[in-house]
Amino acid sequence: MENITNTIQTIPLNEYILLSSIIFSIGVIGVLIRRNAIVIFMSVELMLNAVNLLLTAFSVYHGDASGQVFVFFIMALAAAEVAVGLAIIVMIYRNTNSIDINVLNRLKW
């Protein structure tokens, strides 16, 4: 335990911000370039996790436990979101026999 605590002593906060923003942008790119609705959904999960990691890093940095409680709430929210979202995807698949989002472009108007 002492070892682990010593590990983070030398990492600047900027590195955490950098890591989280890289993973967040990978999620953004995933949403933009894929057509499979489930993969898009997974990219959204990736973005949520990047934010979670950054919140935890800031919480440790400031020595305030509220950040970690907030991450806990985000996880509960993500679970609810995944349940409803996957149900919607299953329903779309049943109606259109595809989860290609380009089939859904009638939602534009």
Partner: protein, 165 residues
Amino acid sequence: MNTFYFIAFLSIFFSILVITAKNPVHSILYLILTFFTFTIHYILLNAQFLAIVNFIVYMGAILVLFLYTLMLINLNKESEPAKSNLVKIAGVIGGCCFLVTIIASLKALGASPAVVLKDPSLGLVKNLGKVLFNEYLLPFEISSVLLLSAMVGAVLLATKEPKTT
């Protein structure tokens, strides 16, 4: 120190694989690996409660849900029509612009102090439980209502409509 950079490299590597894998099932498996590296990040930050919750909720529940849905609607073949290259390049450029903006603003801030764990018991269950049930009791109760409504909504959406004849 080196552990952090190695795990960070793994996170980025696997998350790139998530969005580039052709087969959606491979995507999900890479996503599991990505979340595992996130768990290690939490352990490195000594946020033990979050590490366990991340492990159970994300890797255990959410990804199994993804995998079940994908296999139930039988999309594990590589049938996804690719987007046109123009859209792909535009998407990558858009994401990179976002990244460059954040990095530039980070550079403008200059060097930051190191992340120092002042209180080693910060992320332990005992400490977090006290904060959660003292200051955040109402949001905690409301999130239970949210989970209930999500469950009802998911069941309502996913069940087939009864024949109304």
